[in-house]
Amino acid sequence: MIEDLILKLKKEIIEELNVENITPEEIDSEAPLFGEGLGLDSIDALELVVLLDKNYGIKIQASKEGRKIFRSVRTIAEYILEHQKK
């Protein structure tokens, strides 16, 4: 179940964050998203906040909670499963 969500998230990240030259399968679910790995930046973090709101109905504060939640694709998926509204 979580693996389906992880794959979905990878596709959404590539689409919404304009990540080029990488397929969803090539993204490591456990790898850090920021700094290394995909090398996302502060605007990407804010865009992930919008993504969580738009696609999953979850609102978060990037500055307070973002670092923990967005550490990897897996941590995002876990957060969504915990907090998604019915």
């Binding site: 304009n18 990540v19 080029e20 030259n21 090398g39 919008v50 738009k54």
Partner: protein, 209 residues
């Protein structure tokens, strides 16, 4: 350099002509043609893509970056539409209160000076930077303003020109401005033209939008 009508001109020579059927496809084809490797390119709006590509091509045709430290290089650009394309995109994203998801990666491109920032970041140009908005390219403004920046030693070199992109309409021409007494120190000059009050209009013929 000049990018217009699907052709890239550098120092008077057509370097690349594209068959692309859209502005998006054109910019991709130019990006690939020049073997550029810069993933952030794909996050940019078309105005910034055009500015970025134009600067990239221009700098391949001059040795300005080797001659001057980044702190001494300025970027003074003009355009007519500001960032109107992404302004509309942002406005559209807030049109419906039931689908209200303004995006930071769109909003950041709703000011025209980001096109200067993208060039500055890529090439580490840290000097004077300004965007003027005008209906047509205003060479007299550039002439007087950059002269004053040189006279006051605010910069030693300036990347300047016109970068306009709105929908299907795009046009850019960029050039490097240097001081005559400075360039005499360096060998191996690219072809250059003197810009002065007599020929400024003729040399930099402003094009209507």
């Amino acid at each position: 350099m000049k990018l217009q009508d699907h052709r890239v001109l550098l120092n008077g020579i057509v370097e690349h002509a594209s068959e692309a059927d859209s502005v998006d496809a054109l910019f991709r084809s130019v990006y690939r043609y020049y073997h550029i490797d810069y993933p952030k390119f794909f996050k940019m709006d078309n105005l910034c893509k055009l500015a970025f590509l134009s600067a990239e091509i221009l700098l391949q045709g001059t040795d300005a970056l080797q001659k001057y430290p980044g702190e001494q290089i300025g970027i003074i650009l003009e355009n007519a539409s500001s960032s109107l394309e992404f302004d509309r995109k942002h406005q559209e994203s807030i049109r419906d209160r039931n689908q209200y998801f303004p995006s930071p990666s769109v909003f950041v491109y709703t000011i025209p000076n980001i096109m200067v920032a993208e060039i500055a970041i890529r090439h580490k140009m840290k000097g004077e930077n300004t965007v003027f908005i005008s209906e047509r390219f205003d060479p007299e403004l550039i002439y007087h303003y950059v002269s004053e920046l040189f006279r006051n030693q605010r910069v030693s070199c300036c990347l300047s020109g016109w970068v306009e992109c709105y929908g299907d309409h795009y046009q850019s021409f960029l050039f490097i401005i240097e001081q005559e007494d400075k360039i005499k120190e360096f060998k191996g000059l690219q072809e250059y033209v003197i810009l002065n009050t007599l020929n400024v209009e003729k040399l930099l013929e402003g094009k209507p939008r």
